[in-house]
């Protein structure tokens, strides 16, 4: 059983699982957004978690002080995701029935005094926060390792947990992509959201039905990419950044067969059986074509599709192409992941001469 969990949590399988799960989640959000579902699934999750905690290896990873915030975050994310879905389900039902959303009800539109309602709520929330922080601090000491030694790197060397998603991306991308371009696009993309999403509905209340595309895009990036990669990077990457299942010992000597090949090598060496051309651009021509094809071809394809043309109409050209660009770049990550797993593809375009690897 543990063996199976170990194998299945390998990104190859678990990421596929996450994608399928996400699809089901979006489809059956109304079922998920019920208290009954939450309670029953929480019981299962907690049960599984407690069972997993029995394993010494898993236990060791979870209680490592700097990992505790991630566990907290994990449960918080589960809860709040469900909670917003729950509220969205209620509102969607009300909207279908011709009612206003809960937040828009006459009662909720009524104005109340800030003092004492809000002031005391905030005061209590803050106080409670201090209580949590103090108790957390008493039971968990801040980690401190050996003094800094620039000549010896610990194994594994990990960035702070909130950057582990980026660090995990480094497995599939060169640093300039994973560390600079993608994070930069995430920031730009986030800021751009209000300017791209012109849907006037769903402002100020929880809803799913009225803004499915926005929700789908955001939640996929947030849950399936960001949170999922942090979990992998934190809990399942051990020495040498090798993958370790949740119940596996972090054996320094573990080796995973990994022989990655560039697309150009696939083409020239394996495909044509001749040596690589010395001209860099000629050498990488296939990768360049494929990359251009990915962006241009898929955009064209999208334009032709029904959803695409309707979006183009409602958003206008600039918004539409920006959206496509952002989505396609976000899509690069899963595409690259699958290419790696399926074909051991290292780089689509490999130009180490210019530090340009894609």
């Amino acid at each position: 059983m543990k063996e199976l969990v170990n194998t299945l949590s390998d990104p190859k399988y678990s990421f596929t699982g996450v994608i399928i799960g996400f699809y089901l989640f979006m489809k059956y959000y109304r079922t998920i957004g019920t208290v009954k579902f939450f309670i029953s699934s929480m019981i299962i999750i907690l049960g599984v978690f407690i069972w997993m905690m029995q394993d010494p290896n898993f236990h060791a990873i979870i209680v490592w002080p700097d990992n505790v915030p991630i566990v907290i975050l994990l449960f918080a994310v589960i809860f709040f995701t469900w909670f917003s879905i729950y509220k969205a389900a209620i509102n969607d039902a009300r909207i279908e029935g011709g009612e206003t959303p809960v937040e828009g009800s006459v009662e909720n539109r009524e104005k109340v005094w800030t003092w004492p309602n809000l002031v005391y709520t905030e005061l209590m929330a803050g106080t409670l926060c201090v209580v949590i922080l103090v108790i957390w601090s008493i039971f968990l000491k801040a980690p401190l390792e050996e003094p800094a030694n620039p000549t010896w790197a610990p194994n594994p060397a990990k960035a702070p947990w909130y950057f582990l998603g980026l660090q995990e991306m480094l497995v599939y991308f060169d640093p300039w992509m994973a560390g600079v371009v993608l994070p930069g696009l995430i920031i730009v993309g986030l800021i751009a959201i209000p300017y791209i999403d012109t849907n006037p509905k769903g402002n100020g209340y929880y809803t799913m039905a009225e803004r499915k595309v926005a929700m789908g895009g955001f939640l996929f990036g947030w849950l399936a990419l960001w949170v999922y990669l942090i979990i992998i990077g934190t809990f399942l990457r051990g020495p040498n950044w090798t993958f370790y299942g949740p119940f596996e010992v972090w054996d320094f000597h573990k080796v995973v067969a990994e022989a990655n090949v560039n697309l150009s090598e696939f083409f020239w060496i394996k495909g044509l059986g001749i040596s690589m051309p010395s001209n860099i651009f000629l050498r990488e021509i296939v990768g360049l074509i494929v990359t251009t094809g990915y962006y241009v071809g898929l955009t064209l394809l999208c334009n032709r599709s029904q959803l695409g043309s309707s979006l183009m109409k409602s958003l206008g050209k600039i918004r539409y192409y920006l959206l496509i660009l952002l989505l396609l770049t976000m899509g690069l990550l899963p595409v690259k992941m699958y290419l790696r797993w399926l074909f051991n593809l290292k780089y689509l375009v490999a130009m180490p001469e210019f530090e340009f690897n894609l």
Partner: protein, 944 residues
């Protein structure tokens, strides 16, 4: 004009003011930028590029001048023909290259495969081992898979090897086809390689090059500038920041651009090469710039580059100061932690790292100052580092009465230079600050009292000899030949002026000074009178002693001794005593104290107090003064860092600088009292030595070196085992002045100045002495001197050495020669090869060794040391080295070189092999040698 409603100002006015202030802002930013960008050191670096450019151009011309035009043409031709040749073969080359290309592709593909199998093998190995160790049932299956992959891996590897082997053939063929061209290119490279390098360097100095301008352009000059601050950070030399030490950073080379590069010796500063690259700054020198920087020795603020004055540059002399004032607006550094040493005082910087050594190698000026401090005995009154255990510089005065007359002593104290122009006893009286009649009267009373006290304390001493008269001429001959002049200068003896020894007093007017019986005893056995003396015995016979005494007594200075010293004025004496008593008592109490004393007691009391006041006890041992009494002068161990305001400049118009003060203080210590109304008891007492400028400067340098700088342990010069032994022994060698006679490994041999005609007549050089003689012999010899070269007139004296001193001197020679064995000299009989002894005997005859090394052989007129001593005295390896080439060791020796240029003079003996011959002879010498260490030769035991 009326304003718009709601407006306080007219818009146009507002906007104009805004524009005006914005422009001001813009200009101020511009000014800030320029202020930051334009720095004086940049100017120097740009100038240095022009200097370098000139030099490189010359170098290139010189290099090109060497290449003849014929050779150039020839080269051109061969290159062209090679090119044509290869061009013809182009087709086959292209074909081969295509072949190579294909194979390379195949290798690449195989390598890709290999990495797949490599990965699989690694992973499967791990998994199988894991499974196997934990008894997993899947283990056999994994093993099977692993083995399969291993086979594939091995096969692929084999394939790659084969492919690579098949690539070698075409590769070799291609290079064969291109051989001529490659050879021609190589030839060209050989000829022009260096010129090209120089041309590359020249291009870098071109400041009109756009790339150069871009690199140093404003704002972007952080990218990769060529004009930049250069610095060294020193790990083990620190700046003292009080309670913290921080690594020293020197940036001097930012302007002194070529300081560590040869070839700029003739440039003006700051572009000059360091004058002594082999010792300092040079990469291969013991003090490379990267580890020692600049200010470690020179002082100054090496990290400051933006202002000539901030670095605390200090001019060498007034002339330089004037020119600096003109060129750099120089002013005296103030509020600077450490001022640069003047150029002439640079060596003061040596001491802070080179501590605990008698001399610092190559620091000639520093060593000279230290020698002078030792000679003048400064350490007796001042605490001076490295002199803590030195003996008192003056003679003991506790048996004075048996040696001198009281009147002479008074005159001497009053004016030593009146008797001895080279006196080392300094002048306390008749100086600029105490020659007022009132003060002179007091001084006269003090001198009288001091003499009385000395006589009162003088112990009984009976000379063992009686002077009965001797031959003055013989005495003179003895003094000039036996070795006295190595330490003393003696009046009337020319050779002694030549040597100019300063270790011991100048002997003048002796006949008017000392008691004849005392003198005859002293010259024969000095330790009888003064057990602590370093004056050795020359083993004079009593006849010789009488002659020497006779000559010394013939030196007269009657005008001095005939002067009667002014008598003691009792009133003045009592006044002086009252003043002393009143330091702590009331006038009444003081008078009471005085009244109790008898007349003689009063005189003695003043005598003792005066001896204490002038610090006489520091240099002389005097009865009644405890040996541990604190020195009278201030502590000089941090004089080089003493704050300038702690120096008393008085009313003297002298630049307020540390080195200047010390120099003038040494020249005339009393000058600071000038113009001050000081009471008698507060007058400056440091005596007058009448130093020359040169001497004062040398001593100033050394004293400046005594600073508070604490160089961390890592930065201090640590002696290795050899150096430490050498250092220990050197202290004794210096104490007993061995180097005044012997030239030890090229150092010393002052007395040889008297043997210009034939150095063989002087004391022998000691070259590699630790290697030359057996250590046990040397140890023995130092305690029991006997003549080795009986024909010499100069004698090795008998020193009173302790066992420890003898040991350490022996170890000193051993360490200097890197001789680590203390093997005793051989006692076992010599082992001969067959026929070797006969050959040795033949050689001994043929080379006529016995014609010079005669003692114990057939003649009584020796010209060379007795060979019977060889066995116990000389080391075998040294004997062979000496025989092989004596002139290499002693250039002036009369010993012939029998194997010149490695050729034997006797080709018949032992096949003419010099090595074998020398060994045989050495063995023979050791066979005939005496066994006892002591060299008193027993003639009867010699035989052929």
């Amino acid at each position: 004009m009326k304003l718009e409603t709601g407006m306080a100002y007219r818009s146009s006015t507002l906007i104009r003011w805004f524009a005006f202030i914005s422009i001001l802002f813009l200009f101020s930013v511009l000014a800030m930028f320029l202020d930051d960008y334009i720095r004086p050191w940049k100017g120097w670096q740009i100038k240095s590029l022009a200097v370098k450019r000139e030099k490189l151009k010359k170098d290139i011309e010189a290099k090109l001048g060497k290449i003849s035009p014929e050779k150039l043409a020839e080269l051109e031709n061969s290159f062209e023909s090679a090119k044509d040749l290869v061009e013809e073969r182009q087709e086959s080359i292209r074909k081969l290259e295509g072949e190579i290309n294909t194979i390379s592709g195949q290798i690449h593909g195989a390598k890709l495969e290999l990495s797949v199998y490599n990965g699989r093998v690694a992973e499967l190995t791990f998994r199988w081992e894991h499974a196997h160790a934990h008894g997993d049932p899947r283990a056999p299956k994994l093993k099977k898979k692993l083995d399969h992959n291993r086979v594939l891996f091995a096969a692929t590897k084999e394939k790659i090897k084969e492919l690579e082997a098949s690539k070698k053939g075409p590769l070799a063929k291609v290079s064969e086809l291109k051989a001529e061209l490659i050879a021609a290119e190589k030839e060209q490279q050989k000829l022009f390689g260096q010129v090209e390098l120089l041309k590359g360097a020249l291009a870098k100095t071109d400041i009109s090059n756009p790339v150069w301008i871009l690199r140093n352009a404003p704002f972007i000059d952080w990218l990769d500038p060529t004009i930049k601050v250069e610095q060294v950070v020193l790990d083990h030399i620190t700046d003292d920041r009080y309670f913290r030490h921080v690594p020293k950073v020197d940036r001097c080379m930012t302007c002194h651009t070529f300081i560590d590069q040869k070839g700029f010796e003739d440039q003006p500063n700051p572009f000059k090469t360091h004058p002594n690259l082999d010792l300092m700054v040079g990469l291969a020198s013991p003090h490379p710039m990267k580890s020692f920087g600049c200010t470690s020795c020179h002082g100054g603020e090496g990290h400051r580059i933006n202002d000539f004055n901030a670095a605390a540059h200090t001019p060498q002399n007034l002339g330089q100061q004037k020119s600096w004032e003109k060129d750099y607006h120089w002013h005296a550094p103030h509020k600077v932690p450490e001022v640069m040493n003047r150029l002439q005082y640079t060596e003061a910087g040596c001491y802070k790292c080179h501590k605990g050594v008698e001399m610092i190698p190559m620091a000639h000026k520093y060593n000279r100052g230290k020698e002078l401090i030792k000679d003048y005995g400064c350490y007796a009154c001042h605490v001076i580092p490295e002199f803590e255990e030195k003996r008192k510089p003056g003679p003991p005065l506790n048996k004075l009465a048996s040696k001198l007359e009281k009147n002479w002593v008074k005159n001497w104290i009053w004016n030593p230079f009146g008797f001895n122009s080279k006196s080392r006893m300094p002048s306390f009286f008749r100086q600029s600050n105490n020659s007022k009649p009132e003060f002179e009267n007091k001084n006269i009373a003090e001198v009288n009292a001091m003499a009385e006290y000395l006589w009162d304390q003088s112990e009984e001493y009976r000379p063992f000899g009686r002077y009965k008269g001797g031959n003055v001429a013989k005495g003179k001959e003895l003094i000039s030949s036996v070795g006295c002049i190595s330490c003393h200068q003696v009046e009337g003896i020319e050779a002694s002026q030549k040597v100019g020894a300063k270790k011991a007093p100048y002997l003048t007017g002796t006949g008017s000074k000392v008691d004849p019986h005392w003198l005859v005893s002293w010259v024969q056995r000095p330790s009888h009178y003064a057990p602590e003396t370093i004056m050795p015995s020359f083993r004079l016979t009593s006849r010789e002693a009488q002659d020497v005494t006779a000559y010394l007594l013939s030196l007269k200075n009657d005008s001095f001794s005939a002067k009667t010293f002014a008598p003691l004025d009792k009133g003045v004496r009592d006044d002086l005593l009252l003043e002393y008593f009143m330091a702590f008592d009331t006038k009444g109490q003081a008078r009471g104290k005085l009244a109790v004393l008898s007349d003689r007691e009063k005189t003695l009391e003043l005598g003792k107090r005066s001896l204490g006041k002038y610090g006489c006890y520091s240099c002389h041992s005097i009865g009644g003064f405890a040996p541990g009494r604190a020195p009278i002068g201030p502590n000089l161990s941090t004089e080089g860092s003493k704050p300038i305001h702690q120096f008393g400049f008085g009313h003297e118009k002298i630049p307020h600088e540390r080195d200047t003060w010390i120099f003038h203080h040494l020249k005339n210590p009393r000058r600071w009292d000038k113009g001050q109304d000081k009471p008698f008891k507060d007058l400056s007492r440091m005596p007058m030595y009448y130093l020359s400028d040169d001497e004062a400067q040398a001593m100033t340098l050394t004293i400046l070196g005594y600073t508070t700088h604490r160089v961390p342990e890592k930065g201090i010069k640590r002696l290795d085992a050899n150096e430490a032994y050498a250092e220990k022994g050197l202290k004794h060698v210096a104490k007993y002045n061995c180097t005044s006679c012997h030239k030890i490994d090229g150092v010393g041999g002052d007395i040889l100045a008297a043997y210009e005609d034939d150095e063989n007549e002087g004391p022998p050089w000691l070259v590699d002495q630790g290697h030359r003689v057996h250590s046990d012999w040397l140890y023995h010899f130092l305690g029991n001197v006997y003549p080795i070269r009986p024909w010499l007139k100069v004698r090795m004296p008998s020193f009173k050495l302790t066992d420890r001193e003898k040991n350490e001197i022996t170890a000193y020679f051993q360490a200097k020669a890197h001789e680590h064995s203390f093997r005793p000299s051989p006692s076992a009989p010599v082992e001969w090869e067959p026929g070797e002894r006969r050959a040795a005997l033949k050689l001994f005859d043929a080379l006529a060794c016995a014609s010079c090394h005669t003692t114990g052989f057939n003649r009584d007129d020796p010209m060379a040391p007795a060979l019977q001593m060889t066995k116990r005295r000389l080391r075998s390896s040294w004997i062979e080295k000496w025989l092989a080439n004596p002139q290499a060791i002693l250039p002036h020796t009369t010993m012939p070189n029998f194997w010149e240029d490695g050729e034997a003079q006797e080709p018949d003996i032992l096949g003419g092999d010099p090595k074998k011959q020398i060994t045989a002879l050495r063995k023979y010498l050791q066979e005939i040698g005496h066994d006892q260490i002591h060299g008193e030769l027993n003639r009867s035991s010699t035989s052929r």
